[in-house]
């Protein structure tokens, strides 16, 4: 807002009394914690009362204690860092490829014809099924884990980008063309911002897929990583550590979601969708 007065509608410059909105929104954000908190409380209560056997699901407090112990001796940090590194690397590679190929397929007819059919076929290949081949191709080291993450991250980004590009209002592209924008500038000013919401969604799904792939990957010859930690715990039936691993994933999910939400709020200020009623 540049100023209170509108050039051609000389509306009285009475500042409106109560800017309620921001307050309400903050309130709402806290309120969103209600259901997770309720779930955790119910879980703890069930565990304490003995309704939920400890080997079925350890109490949150037990899990937290385990977490504190592992965090204190540095184990959790090391594993987390390694997993994060792998996930980041894989996301970078898979996401980069998905951006390039998705843009090619979404924007160019030739790209669509060449790229999309093989991707459509590859889309269904489950990572786990590929593991034996990947072991032969890329070995059992870090590259296997990163490849699996990249594969997992590729598809949601590719598909959402492709769909996002296809969804862009053709009329806006035309308008940009008449404004003298070349292909590159149209990409930057019209296609990219237009496909951004879809891209964000793809990124969310990709982050989830990355973790999933990492768990698969960290089963093969890993000595570190949250997936390894969980697998090790599984083998020894340390349910509390397994649940701790899940909790770590859930918190990472929440953190990445907050990050993406923040990025969305920054870049998608212009949007107004169907407000929930």
């Amino acid at each position: 807002m540049t100023g209170p007065a509108l050039a051609e509608a000389p509306a009285p410059v009475v500042p409106s009394p109560a800017p309620r909105r921001p307050r309400a929104r903050t309130g709402r954000r806290w309120w969103r914690l209600a259901s997770p908190v309720a779930l955790v409380v119910a879980w703890e209560a069930a565990a304490r009362s003995g309704l939920l056997a400890a080997e079925k699901l350890p109490a949150p407090s037990t899990v937290l204690a385990t977490g504190a112990r592992l965090a204190a001796d540095g184990t959790l940090g090391t594993h987390l860092l390694d997993s994060l590194t792998r996930a980041a690397l894989g996301l970078l590679i898979g996401g980069g490829l998905a951006l390039a190929l998705g843009a090619a397929a979404g924007l160019l007819r030739l790209g669509d014809d060449l790229v999309d059919p093989p991707v459509q076929m590859a889309r269904m290949l489950p990572h786990l099924g590929l593991v034996p081949l990947l072991i032969i191709w890329v070995g059992i080291g870090e590259s296997l884990k990163v490849t699996l993450v990249a594969l997992g991250a590729f598809f949601p980004i590719y598909f959402n980008l492709y769909a996002g590009i296809r969804d862009i209002d053709e009329r806006l592209v035309e308008a940009a063309r008449t404004c003298g924008l070349g292909a590159a500038a149209r990409l930057r000013h019209v296609v990219l911002p237009g496909a951004l919401p879809a891209l964000f969604l793809g990124l969310r799904l990709a982050i989830g897929a990355a973790w999933l792939s990492l768990v698969v990957g960290e089963q093969v010859n890993a000595q570190t990583g949250v997936g390894f930690l969980m697998m090790e715990a599984r083998e020894f039936s340390q349910t509390d550590v397994v649940v701790l691993g899940l909790l770590v994933y859930a918190l990472l999910g929440l953190a990445s979601d907050l990050l993406i939400r923040y990025a969305e709020r920054r870049t998608l200020t212009w949007r107004r969708g169907l407000r929930a009623t």
Binding site: E55, K56, P132, I135, I136, G139, I140, G141, Q219, V220, N221, A222, Q223, M231, E232, R234, E235, F236, S237
Partner: protein
Amino acid sequence: GGEATDARDGGPLRIGYQRFGGLSLVKARGTAKNVTWSLFESGPALTEALKAGSIDIGQVGEAPPVFAAAGKIPFSVIGTSEPIPQGEAVLVRADSPYRSFADLRGRTVALNKGSNVHWLLVKLLEANKMTLADLNVKYLKPAEGRPAFDNGQVDAWIIWDPYFALAERPGVRVLADAAGLAGNREYVLAAPGAVKNRTDDVRAFLDTYRETTDWGIAHPAERAAVLAPELKIPLDVTTRALARSAKPLAPVTPDIGRELQAIADSFVALKLVPGPVDIAGRVDDRFTEAFR
């Protein structure tokens, strides 16, 4: 296609090991020089890496070499251990009515497919004049078998150490072990390229392996103290498992070849592996010195 990749002269020797196998003590004590370690959750996973040329030497139980040979994976059997019949067992809940393995007829039994326990199952069936059809077999990995067993979804679980020792708690009873049925030896496998091109490195490593194993047998308390944190298992469980499962190494002999071949033939007869398997021919005795 291992040959090309696994013969890299000069580089560290790539060792594949499993939790609690004899090699983990070498890893834990850090006595071997110029090696890299890869951990595998089971024998089949380790032989898969052998096939991919990702490791030079690995250690597995009884059945995996047979499955690997059936899968035409190139490797040779270069060493073994003394039998460890107390290292694997059939577990049932203490309050269950089963008194012998034969009582399990028609019941559900969980075990890991393609591992040493698979051979034990075959021998148990044979000894009790049963067939696979008499049991409801569920193939579950150790990590899956434990919750299934603990929650009563299977009646019995055939498992090896250390999972055996971990599961051995009040309320759990050992129905039978491998004594008199299966050898349950450990086998050292090597990629052909390593055997051919890096004979000296392999021999040096095996020497270290034997020295470490012998030290462990001589110092059981220290061994458990070293291994417990490495394995992340409580010390008492480690001690108990090691007491029955840590055996001296042994050289491969024609007898060993015959023992393995018998396993293979039996698996073939039961159609557990496809086609005839020649495992005796995989035995390579050029490193026997290191194991004596």
